[in-house]
Symmetry: C2
Subunit: 204 residues, 2 copies
C-alpha cells in the first residue's frame, strides 16, 4: 500500500514561510532559517538524511503549490521559469503544480517533469496517483497546498521538522482547521542538532 | 544560578487552551486533551515524570495568570475561590497570580500560598525572586502570562509538551512575537507515548 507523505520545515511558532515571499526570498523573510537542518552543517546527520530520504526517495509523484514552484504570480506571460532547482531537480518523478493559470508541461533532466493542474487538489492527486505507478506520493508544500491536501483527506503522514526559530508572521501550516480535524497520532520523534522531527499519522 | 522555567502543554497547532474557558472547562473546549500525557495512562512514564518534575519540583516560587488560578473574571466580589487544586495544591511554594483586581493572600496546605499582583509581570517576578530564596522560578501559564514573561525577558527555558491534537482555535502561546524574538536554542527532545517534549533555551 502506498503512502502519501507531507513533509514540511516549520518554525517553533508554526510558520512554514516568513512574510514577503519573492524571487530573492522564496521562503519569505527569515524563512531560510527553517531549512538549516538539511542545508547547513548538520545536513549529513543520519537522522536528517533519513528524514530527507523519507520525503524524497522512491516517490512516484509529487504535488506542490505554485508559490513553491516559483515566484511568478498571476498569468505566466510566456515566462521560461523552470523552478528553483536547476536543470536536474531533486524530485526525479512527475511533479504536479497547483495553479489557476494553464501552462504546458516541462520536462527536466533526471526524470522530473512539471505538470500544471488548474482544477484543484483532488484532480492533482488523481493525476499523481495515476502517474505514480503505485509508489508513494509526496505533498511538498507550501502551506496552502498542504492545507488543501490535509483538508481533502489525502495525507497519510505529516512529517514536521521543527527549528528553534520564531518567525512571528507569514504562513502557518495549521491554520483554519476545525478542532479534531485532522485526527492525528504521534508516531515518531527524532532529534538532530537544532531540529526536532515529529511524524504524525493521520487517522481516518 | 537559578533558572526560570516556563512549561506548557500545547497542541500540534500551537494552542495551549481551547476556546470558551469557564469553570466547567478550565482549559477550554478540547483543551483537556493536551494534558493526557500527565493525567492519562502514561502519567507514570519515566519521561513524563521527569518533565513534570522539571516544572514542579524544587521551585522557590511560581507565577501564573488569573485565568489559570480560576474561572472568575472581573471583580472578585468576595469569592472564596482558592484555585482548582483542592486544599493542598501541588506547588508547595508561594504562587504569584497576575490580576487587575486586588485580593488578600491565601494560605493553603503544604506550603502553597497565593499572592495577587496587580502591577504587572515585572513586579510579580521581582516578588517571586524575593520569595524564592534563590531557588528556581516556574512560569505556569496560561498563554497571556507566558507571553508577558517571555516578552519581558524573564524566561530561561521553555518546555513544551506537544500532543497530537488539533484545537483549531483558542489561545496560542507564540502569538504576536516579532521575528527572532525570543531567540531560541533547541536543547532537549524527548518522547513518551503520544507526546513530544521539546525544551528551548532562551538566548540573551
Amino acid at each position: 500500500v502506498s503512502r502519501t507523505n507531507l513533509s514540511m520545515s516549520i518554525s517553533a511558532d508554526g510558520y512554514v514561510a516568513g512574510p514577503g515571499q519573492c524571487e530573492e526570498q522564496p521562503l519569505g523573510v527569515g524563512g531560510g532559517a527553517l531549512h538549516g537542518w538539511h542545508m547547513g552543517p548538520a545536513a549529513n546527520h543520519p537522522v536528517n538524511r533519513q528524514v530527507v530520504s523519507d520525503m524524497m526517495d522512491g516517490m512516484g509523484a509529487t504535488i506542490m503549490g505554485r508559490n513553491m514552484f516559483g515566484p511568478i504570480r498571476g498569468e505566466w506571460d510566456g515566462s521560461d521559469w523552470k523552478g528553483w532547482w536547476g536543470d536536474e531537480p531533486p524530485y526525479h518523478c512527475p511533479v504536479f503544480v497547483l495553479t489557476h493559470y494553464p501552462h504546458d508541461p516541462i520536462e527536466m533532466q533526471g526524470g522530473t517533469s512539471f505538470h500544471f493542474v488548474t482544477d484543484g487538489i483532488e484532480s492533482a492527486y488523481a493525476q499523481a496517483e495515476e502517474a505514480s505507478g503505485g509508489r508513494d506520493i509526496s505533498i511538498a508544500g507550501g502551506a496552502s497546498c498542504a492545507r488543501q491536501a490535509i483538508t481533502a483527506g489525502l495525507v497519510d503522514e505529516i512529517d514536521l521538522q521543527i527549528s528553534p526559530v520564531i518567525l512571528g508572521s507569514g504562513e502557518r501550516l495549521f491554520d483554519g482547521f476545525d478542532a479534531g480535524k485532522p485526527a492525528l497520532e504521534l508516531v515518531r520523534v527524532l532529534e538532530a542538532p537544532g531540529v526536532a522531527h515529529l511524524r504524525y499519522r493521520v487517522l481516518r
